[in-house]
C-alpha cells in the first residue's frame, strides 16, 4: 500500500491544528487506512484539543475523547462494548484505535497501556510522538530527547535543556510480548501506513509509535515537518522497526547516517547545544545502533 492508494474520504478535517502539524498528518493517514469502521479514542492532548470543539466536531468516523490517563482502558471498553453490541445487532469489522501523544502514552497513560497489552485486548494504539507536552505549551515529557529545550527544561548556562534520554517505549511495549509493535515517522508515510494496515489485520494488542514533528515546539518552519521527520530516521536518531512473533526487525537499515548535527542544528529547541552535547548525542546514537545491529535481525 502507498499513500496514493489511500481512501479519498477524509475522516479528520476542519480541525484547528497548527500549520505543519505532524500529529494531524498521522491521524489523517491512519484513519484513511482503517476506514469508516474505525472508532477513535483520543485522550486530552493536541489532537483532541483541535478536533472536538463543540459544535465544530472534526472526525468523520466515530470518535471520543478519553481521560488523559485512560486511552488504552477506554479502548478496551470500546472494543468489548462494540463486540457485544455487534453480536446483538449482527455486524462486524470494526477497529478500536487510539491516538495518544507522547505524554499521554509514556507518562500518564503507561499504566493503562500496560494493562491493555497484558490482557491482550484487540486494540490498536498509536502514539504520535512530538517529544513534549505541546498542547499545554511545550513542557518536557518522558519522550523529550536529551538536550531539548522545553518550557520546563530551559536551556541556560547551568543546564542545557533536558538532561534525560527518551524513554524507550517501543521496547517497553515489546517486553510485554505484544503481538505487534512498530516504530514509524510521518516522514516515511508509506512505511507508516503499511504498518497501520498490517496491525489492523492482527488480533490482539498492537502498538505503533510514530514520530510527528511539531514546528511550534521544535522550532522549525511549518514547511519542514515532513523533511525533518525523514531526517530523524536518516540520521539515526530514530529507527524504523517492528516487533512481531517475539522478534525485533529493522524495516529500514541505513548504510550510512546523514549528519545528526545538521538535524539538531536546524531546530530551535537544540540551538543551545554545545559541540560536546552533540558529541554525547551521537555517541548515544552509535551505541544504540551497535546494540540493534547485534541483537536484532
Amino acid at each position: 500500500m502507498n499513500a496514493s492508494a489511500l481512501d479519498k474520504n477524509e475522516y479528520f478535517y476542519g480541525h484547528k491544528a497548527c500549520a505543519g502539524c505532524g500529529g494531524s498528518l498521522a491521524v489523517r493517514a491512519a484513519l484513511k487506512v482503517l476506514g469508516e469502521r474505525a472508532v477513535a479514542v483520543l485522550p486530552a492532548g493536541c489532537m483532541s484539543a483541535v478536533g472536538f470543539n463543540f459544535p465544530q466536531l472534526c472526525f468523520g468516523n466515530n470518535a471520543i475523547i478519553s481521560m488523559f490517563a485512560g486511552t488504552a482502558s477506554m479502548l478496551t471498553g470500546v472494543e468489548a462494548g462494540l463486540r457485544r453490541y455487534a453480536r446483538r445487532k449482527g455486524y462486524k469489522d470494526f477497529h478500536a484505535v487510539g491516538f495518544a501523544g507522547d505524554g499521554g502514552t509514556a507518562d500518564i497513560g503507561i499504566q493503562a497501556l500496560s494493562g491493555a497489552i497484558d490482557r491482550g485486548d484487540d486494540i490498536l494504539y498509536i502514539c504520535y510522538d512530538n517529544e513534549a507536552y505541546m498542547n499545554t505549551g511545550i513542557q518536557k515529557s518522558g519522550l523529550t530527547p536529551y538536550g531539548a529545550r522545553t518550557t520546563t527544561t530551559p536551556a541556560g548556562a547551568n543546564i542545557h535543556g533536558n538532561i534525560r534520554p527518551k524513554k524507550n517505549m517501543f521496547e517497553i511495549v515489546a517486553a510485554h510480548d505484544i503481538p505487534y509493535a512498530a516504530t514509524a515517522t510521518v516522514g516515511y508515510i508509506n512505511d507508516f501506513i503499511n504498518k497501520v494496515e498490517k496491525a489492523s489485520k492482527i488480533r490482539g494488542t498492537k502498538y505503533i509509535h510514530v514520530i510527528a514533528p511539531c514546528p511550534t515546539g521544535w522550532g522549525i518552519p511549518v514547511s519542514d515537518t515532513v523533511e525533518v521527520a525523514r531526517e530523524i530516521a536518516d540520521c539515526g536518531l530514530w529507527y524504523l522497526a517492528e516487533y512481531e512473533n517475539g522478534e525485533y526487525r529493522l524495516t529500514r537499515d541505513p548504510k550510512e547516517f546523514t549528519s545528526a548535527e545538521a538535524y539538531l542544528r536546524r531546530q530551535g529547541r537544540f540551538k543551545h547545544l554545545t559541540d560536546e552535547d552533540i558529541a554525547t548525542i551521537i555517541d548515544s546514537r552509535d551505541r544504540k545502533w551497535e546494540r540493534i545491529r547485534k541483537e536484532w535481525k
Binding site: 469508516e36 469502521r37 472508532v39 479514542v41 483532541s48 484539543a49 478536533g51 472536538f52 470543539n53 463543540f54 459544535p55 466536531l57 472534526c58 472526525f59 468523520g60 468516523n61 466515530n62 470518535a63 471520543i64 475523547i65 478519553s66 481521560m67 490517563a69 485512560g70 488504552a72 482502558s73 477506554m74 479502548l75 478496551t76 471498553g77 470500546v78 472494543e79 468489548a80 462494548g81 462494540l82 463486540r83 457485544r84 453490541y85 446483538r88 455486524y91 470494526f94 499504566q111 493503562a112 500496560s114 494493562g115 497484558d118 490482557r119
Partner: protein, 384 residues
C-alpha cells in the same frame, strides 16, 4: 427463591439479574466479594458478560465509559481510595451522560488507613453528577441493583448511578434475601437501548469540548436530568412493586414522623437502631421519629421539610465530616429545612468514622441532646 446472603452477594445477584454486558473492576476491600461473585457467575455461565480485569479503578471506570459509549450495559464496583482514584472518571461519566451503575462499599478514607465503614468516600464525591443511593439491608441492596439500571438508563435521566452499601456492616452481614426469577427481572428491566452511543450509520463525536458559550448549557441539562430523576425513581419503584411485590418509599424512608417532635435524620444501616430507640422513647411518651435518607442525589428537599413539619428539633446523624464546617448530610438537610420554612433547630452528630460502633446508648444520647438542645456540631464518643 430465598437465600442467606451478605450485602455484597445480594448486590451481585441483582447485577446478574440486570444482565450487564461489560463488567470492569479492580479489587478493594470490602467490595471484593461482589467482583468475585460476578467472576464466578461469568465462569459458570449464569451471567453472559465480558469480565475485564483492569489494572486500576481509574481504568475500571474509563473502560466502563468506553463500553457504555458503544451502547451496552456496564457495571463496576469499588470503595474508598478506589472511588477517590476514580474521581476524574466520575465527572466524565456523568458529563457524558453514560448510565453506568457502580456499587460502592462505603469505607473510611486514608490517612490514617482504615478498611471499615463510614461514608466519607461517597459523600466527598456528592457533586460529581451521580445519582447516589444508600441501602439499609441486603434485600434493598439487591433490589437497588435492578432499580439502578431502570433509573440510570431511563431516557429522561441518562445519568450514572452509585449504589452505596455500608462497608462490612452491610456488605459482609448475612440476611435472608429473596432472589427474583430471571424472567421477572427481564420483565422489569428491558435490554439497554440508547442513542448516546457510537453509530456506524451516523458517526458521532463524543466526549467533546464545550467552551464558555455552551458549557453551562450542558451543565444545566445535567441538573435537569436530576430533577426528572425524582419522578423516574418513583416510577421505578411503582413498577418494581408491580413486578416483584416489594414497595420502596422514594428518596427517603420515614418512621413515626407524622406527629414526631424530635426527629433523627440519618442514612444507611444505622437507621434500624435509630428506629428501635424511637420505639423505646415512644413508650416513655416522647414523640420520636426517624428519617432514613435513601437518595442523597437527587436530594429530598421537600420531602424532608414535609416530614419534620411538626418537629421541635432535628438531629442529623452521619458517618462523615466536612472539615472546617459540619457533616455533608447536615449541610444538605439544613438547606432543605431553610428552604422549606422549617425553623426548628437542627443539630449535627458525627459518629461511626473508621467503623467505630454507634451503640444504642449513643443514639439515646443523641435523642436526649436533640430534646434538650446542644451544640450545632457534636462528636459521638469523642471527649474533648
Amino acid at each position: 427463591m430465598k437465600k442467606f446472603l451478605s450485602g455484597d452477594e445480594a448486590f451481585a445477584e441483582g447485577v446478574r439479574l440486570a444482565c450487564p454486558e461489560v463488567i470492569s473492576a479492580y479489587p478493594i476491600t470490602p467490595q471484593t466479594v461482589v467482583v468475585e461473585k460476578l467472576s464466578e457467575m461469568v465462569e459458570n455461565g449464569s451471567l453472559d458478560a465480558e469480565f475485564i480485569h483492569v489494572e486500576s479503578e481509574h481504568s475500571a471506570l474509563s473502560c466502563a465509559i468506553g463500553a457504555s459509549a458503544a451502547g451496552v450495559r456496564t457495571f463496576t464496583a469499588t470503595s474508598s481510595q478506589g472511588l477517590l482514584y476514580m474521581a476524574e472518571g466520575l465527572v466524565y461519566a456523568s458529563g457524558g451522560r453514560f448510565p453506568i451503575v457502580m456499587m460502592n462499599a462505603n469505607r473510611a478514607t486514608a490517612l490514617p488507613w482504615n478498611i471499615y465503614g463510614d461514608q466519607r468516600d461517597s459523600l466527598a464525591l456528592l457533586d460529581t453528577g451521580w445519582i447516589q443511593s444508600y441501602a439499609e439491608n441486603a434485600q434493598e441492596a439487591l433490589d437497588l441493583a435492578l432499580m439502578a439500571y431502570y433509573i440510570a438508563e431511563h431516557r429522561d435521566v441518562s445519568t450514572p448511578y452509585m449504589a452505596n452499601l455500608d462497608g462490612f456492616i452491610l456488605t459482609h452481614t448475612y440476611e435472608n434475601v429473596d432472589i427474583p426469577a430471571p424472567e421477572q427481572a427481564k420483565e422489569y428491566l428491558p435490554p439497554y437501548e440508547t442513542n448516546n452511543r457510537f453509530d456506524f450509520e451516523h458517526p458521532v463525536n463524543m466526549g467533546f469540548s464545550a467552551g464558555p458559550e455552551t458549557n453551562i448549557i450542558f451543565k444545566y441539562k445535567e441538573h435537569r436530568a436530576f430533577d426528572r430523576a425524582r419522578g423516574v425513581i418513583a416510577e421505578a419503584e411503582d413498577r418494581f412493586a408491580q413486578v416483584f411485590g416489594r414497595r420502596y418509599t422514594g428518596l427517603l424512608d420515614t418512621y413515626l414522623t407524622e406527629d414526631a417532635e424530635y426527629v433523627i435524620i440519618t442514612l444507611g444501616t444505622i437507621a434500624g437502631l435509630c428506629r428501635n430507640i424511637a420505639d423505646e422513647l415512644r413508650e416513655q411518651g416522647i414523640k420520636a421519629g426517624v428519617i432514613r435518607i435513601r437518595y442523597l442525589r437527587p436530594f429530598p428537599n421537600d420531602e424532608i421539610a414535609a416530614a419534620v413539619r411538626n418537629a421541635k428539633a432535628v438531629g442529623v446523624l452521619e458517618k462523615d465530616i466536612s472539615f472546617g464546617n459540619a457533616g455533608t448530610v447536615y449541610a444538605n438537610v439544613t438547606s432543605a429545612l431553610q428552604w422549606g420554612g422549617i425553623t426548628a433547630p437542627a443539630y449535627n452528630f458525627i459518629g461511626g468514622l473508621g467503623g467505630r460502633d454507634i451503640s444504642a446508648d449513643d443514639i439515646r444520647d443523641v435523642f436526649t441532646k436533640v430534646q434538650t438542645g446542644t451544640d450545632r456540631l457534636n462528636w459521638i464518643g469523642v471527649s474533648r
